[in-house]
Amino acid sequence: MAISTTHAPAGGESPGPAPRTGGTGTERRRLGALLHKLDIKGAPYAFVAPFFVIFAAFSFYPLVYTSYISLNRVELATLDVMEWVAFDNYVELWGDERFWNALANTITIGIISTVPQLLMALGIAHLLNYRMRASLFFRVASLVPYATSVGAAALVFTMIFERDFGMVNWALGSIGLDPVNWEHDKWPAQIAISTIVIWRWTGYNALLYLAAMQAIPADRYEAASLDGASRWQQFIHVTVPGIRSTIVFTIVLSTIGATQLFGEPLIFGQGPNGITGGADNQYQTLGLLLYEEGWKNYQMGRAATVAWAMFLLLILVFVVQRLIKRLRSRTS
């Protein structure tokens, strides 16, 4: 408790053997005032500083460094040897078929996984919103997939979708259908990957919706039923408008998640084949392309370029969204 006083003389005016039991009263008071001033003015900065230091070290610095690397030709083995190539990496990426392929895959997998996921979440939330037995159990159960690691989930689904001995093909066979080569064919592969994403995130979104639904006042439903609205009409005209802001929030969240899709396709493709998103790049996402350039081809410059392209794309989406919003508010 006495830290401030015993250590104070270090900065005080009395050199030599410091009076341990305290100096004169005025000296003490002056020092106290100084500390107090420092405390009021300086402490807030000290409190927020850790965040900014961490931000600078782990976000801002990498951002700047990545942009610098992307203008160079650098290999992982020799990070200290850089060859300045200006915007060559970007020009090359623009003309690279793999980039557009990865972008298209990212978008299609994003749509296949996000749309059913949010619709299903809405339905599940609606059901969970009813009074029922063991509702807590069902709510917790719907969150369990979210708590599972990507690796474990992706691995299990990879086995389920395995060509020769997977459960899905076994089930298809038992009802007389031909087996599907889930990994190799483009759309089956993208659907399989989307399944992993849907499985993991539906429950989480359902809980978000459920929380929003419970905030809707019950008298609205009463009024609606007095007007003779059916359950379905109540859902469309009372529930959905009531949770609109939450729906927008989950759409934003899933879109960000979809652009960063990486772990699921990587594990689904197994080893080197996963890095390229299948033998034909049929499910290579932008995240995988970045990884391929950096950790398979060991070209850090080109990997950094992909990272920046992804960043710029997100900014582009944001700008377009703002523009649309402005146009809509002007027309309405």
Binding site: L35, H36, A49, R98, T158, D164
Partner: protein, 436 residues
């Protein structure tokens, strides 16, 4: 406020704590330890090792034995499962100069890249006494152009063909390993020819002749001294007739449905082994332990090993020592001991990794070895003979590993029905990207 002083000092403590947190953050990455984690103190020596896969050094108890025979030496080994992950981490650490181990394993496909770009980071073994027992080509692969030897060899990967006797019998083919070897002696195209016969005559379910087109491709390419690079270090993957020939024959096998369209060492391959969906696999020595483990007890005695059409080498590793290690000399001594003929023979006996030491290859323990799982096949003789057939000079290139993976993917495309010319063009384009 009864005690403003208390409040003030509380705040000061909080501010100090915040400042402390700052210094903590700043201190991250400082660290005053040696670059490799090894140390020498009061007569006690600690040596750290970074290994991958099943190199057999830890698994067969050699490290414990060394510690027992050399009191005061403490060895800490860290083993990564997958070589690709291991190598990526090693490269990052070499670049950063941090997090390295005193002894690092080096896979053959990386040897060239290490000798070309990282030679100054590794200690020199040239002239060390008692290290002249290796196969002539083995040590030259880890030697730089100015004669620095960056490591000592552990195992090599001579090839044979593993086959299912019961399936061969059902297809009316001979089952005796000598006769089977004769079927395709001297030419890989005869192996594919046997595959055609197998496909025609085999009755008894969906069984492919071989697991993958890429296994055949690798075996063919690795049998030649010039593979993807020529001696000057130029890429020749697109014009080397050897590669072209291997591609053509593997594509034939793929198009005619002789392969099970599996990817080696990936999860789909393992159930293929245990359920027996293919009759043969081109197998380097180190693959035997994987097959016996994954095919399991129920298939014991059904597998056998026959000579491959031609000698080839796939894989094998080295152990190198980091130059800046504080225990460099001790680590070099340990590496020399681990790669000595007796220890290599010991690993072979336990696991089946074929020694890279010529002396060990001639040891009775090795030449008389039989594999119980593979119908008592004399694997010592089969692989020993195959080791002699490996070309004396093998030109390695920096991106050998990556190029191999890309060719494997190209052949996977052919297996799935892409026209071979288109798959070839795609493969060439990808290699261009990968090496550029």
């Amino acid at each position: 406020m009864k005690n403003p002083g208390l409040l003030r000092s509380k705040r000061t403590v909080a501010a100090l704590a915040a400042a402390g947190a700052l210094t903590l953050v700043a201190a991250c990455g400082g660290g005053g330890e040696s670059v490799t984690g090894g140390s020498k103190k009061d007569g006690k020596v600690t040596i750290t090792m970074g290994l991958f896969g099943v190199m057999g050094i830890e698994e067969t108890g050699l490290l414990e034995r060394y510690e027992k025979e050399n009191p005061g030496v403490d060895i800490k080994a860290e083993i990564a499962g997958d070589e690709q992950t291991y190598y990526t981490a090693l490269q990052t650490r070499l670049a950063a100069g941090k997090g390295l181990k005193d002894i690092q394993g080096i896979e053959i496909a990386r040897a060239k890249e290490i000798t070309e770009t990282q030679a100054d980071k590794f200690a020199d073994f040239s002239g060390m006494t008692g290290t002249d027992h290796f196969l002539p080509w083995k040590q030259s692969q880890i030697t730089t152009s100015d004669g620095k030897v960056l490591g000592l060899g552990t195992d090599i990967g001579p090839m044979a063909v593993c086959y299912r006797k019961d399936y061969f019998e059902k297809a009316g083919l001979p089952t005796d390993r000598e006769e089977v070897g004769k079927l395709w002696e001297g030419d890989w195209s005869k192996y594919v020819e046997v595959g055609r016969t197998f496909k025609k005559n085999f009755k008894g379910g969906k069984v492919a002749f071989t697991d993958s087109a890429s296994g055949l491709f690798n075996a063919m390419v690795y049998g030649h001294s010039e593979q993807y690079y020529n001696e000057k270090g130029d890429l020749i993957h697109d014009k080397n007739p050897v590669v072209k020939e291997a591609w053509t024959l593997s594509s034939d096998a793929a198009e005619e449905g002789l392969t099970a369209k599996l990817r080696q060492f990936q999860p789909g391959w393992d159930p293929g082994l245990s359920n027996g969906t293919f009759a043969t696999a081109v197998c380097p020595a180190w693959m035997l332990s994987h097959i016996s483990e994954k095919a399991g007890d129920k298939n014991k005695g059904k597998w056998d090993v026959a000579r491959a059409p031609k000698g080839a080498n796939w894989g094998g590793s080295f152990l190198g020592v980091i130059e800046d290690s504080p225990v460099k000399e001790e680590a070099k001594k340990l590496v020399a001991w681990l790669t000595a003929p007796e220890q290599q023979a010991h690993i072979f006996k336990e696991l089946g990794n074929i020694p890279s030491s010529e002396k060990a290859l001639k040891a009775p323990d090795v030449t008389n070895a039989k594999s119980e799982y593979f119908s008592d096949a004399p694997i010592g003789q089969i692989f020993g003979a195959a080791a002699q057939e490996i070309p004396d000079k093998q030109v390695l290139g920096r991106k050998d590993g990556t190029i191999k993976d890309i060719f494997s993917q190209g052949l996977a495309l052919v297996e799935q029905g892409t026209a071979r010319d288109k798959a070839w063009a795609t493969t060439m384009e990808r290699i261009e990207k990968a090496v550029g």
